[in-house]
Symmetry: C2
Subunit: 398 residues, 2 copies
Amino acid sequence: MVKWLSSFGQSKNGGVNRLLYSPSWVSAQHALKNKMEELGFSTHFDSVGNLFGRIEGSEPHSRTILTGSHIDSVIDGGIYDGVYGIIASLLSVKKLIEQYGQPQKPIEVVSLSEEEGSRFPLTFWGSKNITGKYSLDHVFKMKDTDGISFLEAMKEAGFPPEHYKSPKRTDIDCFIELHVEQGVTLDRTKTSLGIVSHIVGQRRFNIRIIGESNHAGTTPMIYRKDAMLAASNLISYITNLAFETDHQLVATVGKMTLKPNVPNVIAGEALFTLDIRHYDEEILDSFCNQLSSYFHAYARENIFEIEVDQWLDIKPVKMDTLLTNELKQIAEKRELSHLPLVSGAGHDAQVFGTYCPTALLFVPSEKGISHSPKESTKKEDLEKGICVLTDLLYTLAY
Amino acid sequence: MVKWLSSFGQSKNGGVNRLLYSPSWVSAQHALKNKMEELGFSTHFDSVGNLFGRIEGSEPHSRTILTGSHIDSVIDGGIYDGVYGIIASLLSVKKLIEQYGQPQKPIEVVSLSEEEGSRFPLTFWGSKNITGKYSLDHVFKMKDTDGISFLEAMKEAGFPPEHYKSPKRTDIDCFIELHVEQGVTLDRTKTSLGIVSHIVGQRRFNIRIIGESNHAGTTPMIYRKDAMLAASNLISYITNLAFETDHQLVATVGKMTLKPNVPNVIAGEALFTLDIRHYDEEILDSFCNQLSSYFHAYARENIFEIEVDQWLDIKPVKMDTLLTNELKQIAEKRELSHLPLVSGAGHDAQVFGTYCPTALLFVPSEKGISHSPKESTKKEDLEKGICVLTDLLYTLAY
């Protein structure tokens, strides 16, 4: 069924292009709506294009068990990312109804409109509308790289902004998301399931080192203020400190620009990014403070100017302990190998996690490959994930 | 007079644009030719546009004392680079004739057509033709960035390739070049003159580190093959080794490119340049061998692939000891502060240095600034240089 859905927006390389409100996104959501109706769900779209398939509960006034993930993809993305969580939810609920009939509590499967931030410069458009964190105000002047405005795109996809009504839900009991890991840990340790305890906090910085551009031949080493060398020393320091601080901490310098960037001229300026993640705000604080002191000392000692500009600060989110324990018990009862994991990537579960009890369950990604047509998960791992989700939904709704 | 000549090809920023065979280059060479004739020189162009101004010697069959530098500039270059050596030669010879009349040996002042390599991908076009190292074969298919061929450019400047006749000279006694330092040493040590003992050898490399591109959030530090980190470690090592090896050795990483160069993705590939210079081939060999062993060990230990591609190998050139000693004696007699220097930049003197006895004399560059409109040398330093050149030419030609 994942493969069926990947046909909407299939890319040349066997991946998917399903950007928010694009024609392939529209077809995929409508195909899903039909599929949900075939399976006996009552369906509706909210005003930003989140699709819900609902099975009514027998207990009146019960709060809703929500499960699902996002339908949008990155450009040339993998076919399981997001979609697996939606399909798995549908199959789980179908199985429960076939086996146990109507649940006590209502269950809804949600196909969230947007998580990746690949078309417009915002992320979690779907989940942040449901949780009341976003409204039209956040996208008013936003445009994609083709110059199409967010509001135009909404309209074209059948969600005209003039009909916008806040999709905020106040009846959600909990949110369960099943997702591929997008990392190497489960694959390397040959483990079937990752039970997520936290989603990391993320801080991103631009760091500019201003030295002195000069002739590479006529400037003795002792007279240099080489920005590339300073950057190298700082990057080595950052990495060593990350290793020493905590094995769950990651620090990445992924982007580097030198000026003037010419072989025979000493770099006068180096600009690099720094991406730091950990699930514990205190560890993030302490790591960032140590870096900051070191940077200042280094700048003073070597007469460099160092500018540090933080442009992202996402707080860590803890998943619900009761739900997490439940998942662990289910995995043990079914004798499935499992690991507690910290999610280093962002997920809709982190938006729901500050709003209602939330759980996030991972299945392995082969070789950890993600956001690529080569993304893949073995069939038996996909099935194990569905099995555990089914058991959890049974516990919660029946 | 330097300022007069800088008016041919003056740039918006107060520098000069005088690329080989460009209209401003043509005007400058012709203006110089007229100036030489006014001063009593007999002039001629050779077939690549080197301009010679000759004062005949009284001794028949004497070999020629050649002095001068290059007329071309980099884009938006300084006004003294090259031109100072030509003007200084003219003024020195003028003074000698006024004071002592005709010399015994013939003296020629040369305005070399090209040294910088700023228009076409070759350097030393002027001096390498005079010394027989280059001919038309070397530029046959060469084009500038506008697609104009070298041969077309020659023709437009008035040197049609069909009239080419090797400009190789066999009558040169010695070559003397006076130039601005383009480095910080004289300025920092408040020294008037740099007497060059060697021009450095240069080796340039492209170094490619192939690691593994991966998600910056979901890939634990221990599972990473981060090409940026490997590059940083190697750059720190290179620099430390350069410091330890010899205070005259310089090693520069001026250009760096990461792939994919995105803040939240671990760099899978880092490509950087390495520029190494020293006047002693043995030290260059030993330094490069140590780097190579370290790179291999690092690659093996950390399971990286490291590709090293050498694309430049210029041998060091020693200046003539007798001429160098003569310069030293002159400076001492005139009580001018002077230092023995190694030239870290390339100069026409290095082409002549393997062909005939050659001397290279530097005057300070303020703050060491070079290849920039901000390049400058104090008037009194310019005059001291001319004074010493005059004395040397007197010793050689009278």
